[in-house]
Structures are given as structure tokens and as C-alpha cells.
Symmetry: C2
Subunit: 425 residues, 2 copies
């Protein structure tokens, strides 16, 4: 089944214009897969889903231990060491209550003292483990959090603390690697050629997923199948390439904001992950689509007015799942006080689906091009497909834009100022 459906873009861009992007897009793809473009030192993720299998046994064993001895797994990380795991957990866990296994909480993604203090209080009396994720071990936010929660573990468990610390870092390099070796913490590697925002399919994401009881093998299988499609299909049948080409076409026509929309609230953090992926890959040299995300129909009653009738700087990319996880039939009321009896016998998901269709048409009428991305269902396998699809499209799209999609020099600017203000030696 095809992922991309661009019929609702054809009011704005012709099939001919899309076809005319073939050469440029294939050349961008070639830069990515043949590692000939700028930043090619950081394209290890392209083939990683194939290698990932090796890690699964070790990850599964660690996850089993954490599930047995911990009520909470505290994941310490920021940016790509946070958003991918958070996105997958939100998407694949139930909305309410807990799945089996420990609660998974995050730290080191904020400098909020209130958050950190309350988290310390919350952990009192609970058995917990820590998974600290950082390539270098010296990024300020997670390094501070690791100090704090390592100490908490040591106060609580003494010598046993070291068995509750799981380190995900660059093997053989950096401060975190050093202390892990010294203390005998269990370690998981991040390849040096995979940057944070492209790392969710490595142990960065897979260990938290496994602890949550998610089938990490299925995630990698989904990713591998998306990789196969992205690498082998010809341009006009290649969903990731078409998505990369189309978003660049829109950008060249003055659309400066891409709005990622979905109709399942579970996609909230997938939207955040997407914003880092594209914003950090493309937002440079004074260029790039500004990435934003919305959850419909909720946000039709918030940003909907703007999308319909504000500045015409937007295009929308809508993630659609063919099948809901759960559904229910709407019933007839004896007294039709709210006028909803016309929906009796229809399912709630059917109504949600008509909202999607109606919204796409309304926004296209309002001169907002719409792309649909179709996935069969919410599942571990499809999550793997989705993240690989977006990562591959992002790499190609960045090369089409003419930037290096794998660096992030702009992130250093605030750090330099902060270090000066803090008097860092």
C-alpha cells in the first residue's frame, strides 16, 4: 500500500511539475545513500535497521531486569535522546492507565528546578532504574540530571546502584563512556555516524520501548521494509522521495510553514519528534520550512481558523491511519435534544474519518495544499515504518534544499552564551 496521496496538492502543483523534480530528487537521494553529500559522516542510520537486530537480545535482557526490579525507569536525555522514545511510547501505549511494566519518566530534558525537585519526591519509596542517554556525557541538561539521580540511586541502593544504571553512549569515547567503564554500568552503543534526531531506532529508543513491553523486533522490521521501499522504488512510486520533492516544491512557492496534522491525540509527541527532525535538519543558512504540528479535530477549534483563512503561508501533511485501535457505535437517544440521532448506527471512528475528509477539502478550498500519509494502523511495525519514512525523506529533502541535513551548529549559540554567563572555565 502506498503511503503518500497527493491528489489534494494538484490544485497547486501539476503532475508535470512533480515529474520534473525527478532528476534533482534522485541526485539528492544518491548523495544520501552513497554518502557523497555534506554531513555524510552522519548517515549511519540509513542502513542501521539491518544491523539493529544484533542489539535486540541484549536490550531484551536488560529490559527484563528493569521490568523485574523497577517501578519506574527514568530516562535521562534531551533532543534526539528524548523525543523519539517519548513519541514511540505515547503512540504505542494506551491512553489511560498503564500497560504492564514500569512507568517511564524523563529527566535531563529540562533545567526546571521545580520539575526536578518534584520528580525526586515522586521517586521516594519507589524502586527505580536510570537509563542515561548522551553521546558525549557532557551536554549540560542530561549531565546535571545524571549527577542528581545517580546520587539518589547511590543513597538508596549503595553498591547495588551500579546495577540500576544503564548507559547509552558512544562506545570508546567521551565522559559518559569513561565513567560507565569505571563503574561497570551496562552499556549500549550509539554509532558515531548517527546523530541524535536520527537515533530512535538504535538503543536510544529501543531500550525504553522494550522496557514498556513494546515489540522492538517489529519496529525494526517496519523500518527495514520502509528502507527497502525508499532505496529501491522508482521516483514516481517512491513515497519518501515524493514527499521530499513535494515539500520542497511548496517551499519554493512561498509556503514557509508545514503543519503536520493527525486525528489521534497519541501522535502529540510524534509531532514533537517530527519538529526536531525537520527543524534541526533544514533550518539553517536562512532557509527551511518552519515545522508545526496540530491534533485534529481538537485544534480545528484552535488553529483551524488560521489554517482556513489566515496568512497563506501553510501547507498541511496529514497522517492517517486506515484502521482505529478501538471503535464504538453511536446510539439513538429517545429524545434527540442535541440533533445527533442522524449519527446513530455509525461508528465514532467513521465520524472522525469524515472530519478528516471534510477538513482536507475545506483547507484545500482555503488554498492550503494537503498531503495525506496513509499507514494501515497504529502498531510497533508501523511506527518503525513511519520513523524511517520521515528520516529518509528528511535527508533527501535537506539535500534538495541545499543544506547539510546532519549538522546543527546553530544549537551551539545559546550554549556558548550560557557557559559565559555561568562562568564555565
Amino acid at each position: 500500500m502506498r503511503i503518500i496521496d497527493y491528489q489534494h496538492a494538484l490544485k497547486f502543483i501539476t503532475e508535470k511539475e512533480i515529474a520534473a523534480m525527478e532528476g534533482e530528487t534522485l541526485s539528492a537521494k544518491s548523495k544520501l545513500v552513497n554518502r557523497t553529500g555534506p554531513g555524510s559522516d552522519f548517515t549511519g542510520w540509513v542502513d542501521y535497521p539491518l544491523a539493529g537486530e544484533e542489539n535486540i537480545k541484549k536490550i531484551t535482557a536488560a529490559a527484563r531486569r528493569i521490568r523485574e526490579n523497577s517501578e519506574v525507569l527514568l530516562v535521562i536525555g534531551i533532543g534526539g535522546s528524548y523525543l523519539g522514545a517519548k513519541a514511540g511510547l505515547e503512540l504505542l501505549n494506551p491512553y489511560f492507565g498503564k500497560q504492564g511494566g514500569p512507568e517511564i519518566l524523563f529527566a535531563g530534558h529540562t533545567l526546571s528546578s521545580s520539575y526536578t525537585r518534584e520528580l525526586i519526591d515522586y521517586l521516594q519509596g519507589k524502586n527505580f532504574s536510570v537509563n542515561v542517554i548522551s553521546k558525549s556525557g557532557t551536554t549540560t541538561e542530561p549531565a546535571i540530571a545524571f549527577r542528581i539521580f545517580k546520587k539518589l540511586l547511590e543513597e538508596k541502593y549503595g553498591e547495588e546502584a551500579r546495577e540500576r544504571i544503564y548507559v547509552t553512549t558512544t562506545i570508546g569515547k567521551g565522559a559518559l563512556y569513561g565513567i560507565a567503564v569505571e563503574n561497570g554500568y551496562e552499556m549500549f552503543g550509539i554509532s558515531e555516524d548517527i546523530g541524535g534526531r536520527y537515533s530512535v531506532l538504535t538503543p536510544v529508543g529501543l531500550l525504553p520501548f522494550a522496557v514498556a513491553g513494546i515489540d522492538v523486533g517489529a519496529i525494526l522490521e517496519g523500518a527495514a521494509s520502509a528502507r527497502e521501499d525508499a532505496l529501491t522504488k522508482p521516483y514516481l512510486e517512491n513515497d519518501a522521495l515524493l514527499y521530499a520533492a513535494l515539500r520542497n516544491l511548496f517551499y519554493r512557492r512561498g509556503k514557509t510553514v508545514e503543519l503536520l496534522a493527525s486525528y489521534e491525540p497519541k501522535l502529540r509527541y510524534f509531532g514533537e519528534w517530527y519538529k526536531q527532525l525537520f527543524g534541526e535538519s533544514e533550518g539553517k543558512d536562512g532557509k527551511g520550512l518552519f515545522p508545526a504540528s496540530v491534533l485534529y479535530t481538537t485544534d480545528l477549534h484552535s488553529l483551524g481558523q488560521y489554517v482556513q483563512d489566515g496568512e497563506r503561508i501553510l501547507f498541511e501533511t496529514v497522517i492517517n491511519f486506515e484502521k482505529p485501535e478501538k471503535d464504538m457505535v453511536l446510539i439513538r437517544e429517545e429524545e434527540d435534544f442535541d440533533g445527533l440521532n442522524y449519527l446513530a448506527g455509525k461508528s465514532l471512528d467513521y465520524v472522525n474519518r469524515q472530519a478528516l475528509k471534510g477538513t482536507v477539502l475545506a483547507h484545500v478550498d482555503g488554498d492550503v495544499p494537503n498531503l495525506l500519509l496513509n499507514f494501515p494502523e497504529i502498531s510497533a511495525r508501523q511506527f518503525g515504518r513511519m520513523v524511517y519514512f520521515f528520516m529518509f525523506a528528511c535527508g533527501v529533502s535537506g539535500y534538495l534544499l541545499g543544506v547539510n541535513p546532519f549538522n546543527q551548529e546553530g544549537v551551539e549559540a545559546y550554549k556558548r552564551n550560557m557557559f559565559t554567563l555561568l562562568g564555565k572555565p
Copy 2:
């Protein structure tokens, strides 16, 4: 203490240009407070904080009942009947664990069948009450949810169900009013001259806040003090007017995106509330700033690269709290493996504050104008001040932009299409 600090905008806009906006801004303000502008039928919120006191006794009494007999309060609403309450609850509740009182959950803000089904399961075996919020009672999303959860209450409690349903609606009008009268549900009024996105200081927000144990009197006092400032202070000392003028100046210089930033994760839904307030008020007639929000430092490792170095279409508005709710001192480690010992003896909030300062300077260097909005602390009173400040600034800003800030005709477009697809008679 002043709210707005625009020193970091002066690289882009001169004091003279700001002063030159006085006439135009005062005229926009006059339209708002004298009810002479378009949409003036919906400006009841301008004076509402003064009238709100009357409601407090009734709200407090209902809240006490709900706290006594319910483990969950289910608030049913969408848009302005959802985001204001959600924003206040997130800001004023602790990060972890529960404050005293029932858990407050939301429905009717989504058509997701999975969310709804899981919520039904989650409520099994729990005592709960429902607060349904809708001016008309026929908005599709909350009307569907009210049918579903009213039935659940009736199955569980029989006749007693009617004592667990609290209706917030237009008194004397509409489907929800009708059924509330018929069944004797307790009712709270929304004035006809207050639109959804300006309604958080009415029972729409106040009842959920009171159930959560938040001091609603303090919220209204804060709002009343912001109202006094907004109505009486001269232009150059009037924070709300200056904010309205500055954002229009930026917009006229080609900044099409406003990014609301804060350094406390608790502001997440305040950002969502802000997006509806400004997006729905100004996004019309092909105009308006696109509102986006970020939580720093988290999102410095996500959108930070774009802000620093992407398309120069952004300006930033940073909410700053002078005092943290909780703080902690960072300690020295014997072995300085992560190089953080230079922070020993400093507090975590101090570090967060230097991150804020360093980021403002970095982004200004990157040609992103920054406005700071200072509030003394996170509290019920300051929440009241914040929401009134933003609402007043939004009304004035919309008039400066030349739109009607109180309608939302664009929201109807998706509804019309959806109704057609659903075969609504």
C-alpha cells in the same frame, strides 16, 4: 512591576517607532473598551473579572460536592471550553502525583474512538461526575461525548446521575440549556457576549479549577488587577498595549510567526491556549501572525537550530517567572567526570535563568527579535493576570491588524463539509 521588557527588540525597532504607534494603539483600545469595533457583541470578558465574584460561592459549593463524591471529574468541551481549563490545571498543579481532590480528565475535545473507548474502560469502578461545557450544546465533538458519558453515568447511578452532571452553557438558550432544565442539572452560565477563547475566567475555567482545589478568588483578583492596568495606564506604561503594538510592528516587518517560549514545562498547555487565542482571533482575511510555542531548554535541542539560523520569519515572546516554585543547589562531585563542578553551589534555577538570558542574546544575534514577559511567580493570582493580559492584548492587536478579533467564521468550513459527508439532515 512591569510585565513587558522590550530591550531585546530595540535592535530591530526604535523607541521612536514604538512611540509612533501610540495613536493607532489607543484607538484600537478605545474600540475594545467602548465596544465600537467589529465583534463588540463579544467583549463581555473585558469587565467580567469584576462580575465573576458572584459566581464564586456557587462554584465553590459545587466543587466541594464533586470533591466529596468523585474520584474523577470528566470535563467535556472543545476549543475554548477545553484549553483554558487544561492550561490552568497544568500550570497550577504539581508535575508529579496528584494534588488533593479528584483527577480531572477531558473528553469531547477529540473524535478519537480509541481515546473514548479507553476512557470508558478507565472509568469502570470509579466514582465520577461530568462537567459539560458548550454554549449551544450542539457542537459535534462535545455533544457526542456528552451522550456517551451521560449514558454511562445513568447506567451506573440511575436517578442519582442527574446530581453528577454539571452544565456550563448559555442560560435561557440552546439544546444544552433545554435538557439541563428538563433534568434539573446544576447549571452555570456563560454570558452570551463572551466567546469560547475568552471564557477561561468564567465558570468554564473556574469550576474545574475549584474542583482541583485552586483558589479561584485569587485568579479573579489577578485578572482584575491586570484589567485595571490595561484600562488605565498610559500607552508607554501599558504592558498589554505595548505588547499589541510591538507584535504588529514585527508583523509589518515580515515576521509572520510568533513563538511563545517558556522555561517551565508546566506552560505547555498555556502555549496551546495562547495559540487558540491569537490564531483564532487574528488568523483571517489572509492575515495574522502564525502562533507557535516552545518549551526551553527542551526545544533548544529541537527547534533551536531553526530559530537560530532558519528562515528569518520569527520573533519570540518569552514568559519568564522571577521566582521558581522549588529550587535545589547543585553539588560538587569528587571526580569531575562530566566537567560540571564549576556549577557546584549554584542552584538549578540559576542555571535555567542563565540559559534564558544566553538564549535571548543568541537569538537576537541571529536576528530574531525577543520580547520578555515577566511575572513574579507561578500562582493562581498570576495565572489570572497572565490570561487577562493576553486576552486584552489580543483584542487590541486584532483591531490594530484590522480584523474582527471576536469571530471565527473559518471554523465553520470543515463542519459544513463534515456534515455533508455524514449526511446531516
